[in-house]
Subunit: 380 residues, 2 copies
Amino acid sequence: MRQRFQRSKPVETQPQKMDARRYAKLPDPFPMWRGGVLHGAQIAYETWGELNAARSNAVLLFTGLSPSAHAKSSAEDTSEGWWEAMIGPGGFIDTNRYFVVCVNSLGSCFGSTGPASNSPSTGAPYRMSFPDLSVEDIARGGFETLRSLGIARADTIIGPSLGGMSVLAFLGQFSGAARRVISISGSAAASPFAIALRSIQREAILRDPDWAGGGYTNERPPATGMRIARKLGMMTYRSATEWVHRFGREPVAPELKEDGPFAPEFSIQGYLEAHARRFVRAFDPNCYLYISRGMDRFDLAKHGDGSNVEAIKRSRVEHALVIGVESDMLFAIGEQRALSEDFAAAGVTTKFAPLDCIEGHDSFLIDIERFGTEIKTFLG
Amino acid sequence: MRQRFQRSKPVETQPQKMDARRYAKLPDPFPMWRGGVLHGAQIAYETWGELNAARSNAVLLFTGLSPSAHAKSSAEDTSEGWWEAMIGPGGFIDTNRYFVVCVNSLGSCFGSTGPASNSPSTGAPYRMSFPDLSVEDIARGGFETLRSLGIARADTIIGPSLGGMSVLAFLGQFSGAARRVISISGSAAASPFAIALRSIQREAILRDPDWAGGGYTNERPPATGMRIARKLGMMTYRSATEWVHRFGREPVAPELKEDGPFAPEFSIQGYLEAHARRFVRAFDPNCYLYISRGMDRFDLAKHGDGSNVEAIKRSRVEHALVIGVESDMLFAIGEQRALSEDFAAAGVTTKFAPLDCIEGHDSFLIDIERFGTEIKTFLG
């Protein structure tokens, strides 16, 4: 399965010797939220812990825009996961108690079907022929993954960033399919500031001549566009305050010095450069474009006749934890507060946890202790 | 003079039928702060009000990155200036009392010598052969403009944004040349966040194939790079809160709709697009690159053996007004507070005015009433 998938990708992802991925076959045809269908589509996922006999202890984890399903190491793949310290036996998300399932988003490029996958009708990558992707489709990918495991109702659905939007899209579509929800630095509807940022990131890729209308080659991806998109991402994922402490006005590291006009001079430029270089070949540009636009379009209220509260009511979720970060410029703390108020107004037992971490939007990847404590307390 | 200058520019600026500009010839050679000299260089400036007999009522105004010297309309040029409502007879900056001089920054492209001007040694535009530009050079351009008018000491030097850095670079270099100073949303030394933003803007231009190593043509400027740079600028010049109120999630205006993949869908995208289109041919890309890097490098403390306070002491300035905006993400309010504390520690009579405008860095262009009231009160 893995070999077949890898052949279908126009851009190679990071080398991965070990592999803990499983694959859930999606219903065929799989209807997309804004129209169109997929045939033979799949979701890549990983699991930790054991599903209990009642199939009632599943924690479904959605990711941010760019991570894979590899949230945590395991015997099958000992490499560090993107939320390594959060999950484990006796950990914040306790795999002695819970069966944790992390899904690679539909539309992404780490095993789930997306624009970089081969279309069964042509045998060639979908690229721009992939149907419009919505956060609702990502949520449905997680829902169907649980169904394939015989799980009718998740104990808890949880996700940060895009994952926080995905859990809301899950609630908006599937009544009674989740008992509890944890939204971390997510959004009930993208703010104009977030739309601005993402649309500039997309424009950098779309206007890179190497994007070639989506038909770029392995050898020549739209590297300039992806570099700029990633640097912009890093700028808004962290905070100005953190950077003052971390970088100040220190000169760029010698190994990141460059020749040529307007070469980097400050440490912060080297930091962005290092992130950009890692990202260019790690993520497929068309997948990035599709997911990014899907985030702009998401609006929870569409699932409740214009009301977030009504959408939440229909989901029949019982408990909610909403975590936000004061220094998050992209998914602002005010959005998190408003979301928690919507949960409460829908009759959901709600805890709002505003954290004053200085690492901005990405704090959930860094300040594991504080996020983990909130999550562990909520899971009880 | 105007005709000669315009011929030297590789990119035409906005059409301007009327012209109130005067030109100050800079000393020849004009030594640049980081090395190199200019020959036959000039500063374009405009004035309002009358210089008194004692030559003691001059208010020297430095601009942000992109404006010209046309801060205010006049009989010679009746078009609206960039600070139209701030300046005038009986106004916040009262031209019945003060002789206001606004300079186009050295290195810019609206009449002052810069990378787009012809080099006298070759007769062709300087482009990348222009020497390194520093905020100190911009400040010296203003200083020499006053000298050319027979003014040894300004009553007040004032500037917003880059202009706020320019007034500090003026103080850092010229002892006794200004009695009072007004710094608006400036910076004593660029923060890593501001450096990150500007270096991504520059990268967008530098990596645009049409930049052509600085040798782009009139017909084919690096439009993609300039578009992205401007959109990023607009994103950081305003605030997320303002945009929630102003744009929300409204659809893009019909006249800004486009065809093609990933076309704009939201009003905020149309707003950015309109700004980008206006900017592409209004500002010279090489000038933009030079000034932008100069802003990154500026550090007031270099003028005081590592101490802002010492640098300020040496200037012998007597009164300071520091205005900052709470919602400014680029020139953060903490920087403004620290700067006001440095002035006070240097023995300068100092007023710090933190304003809670929601329009972010650009508030000084919008909330004229609040800024003007602070300025008028300070000017006395």
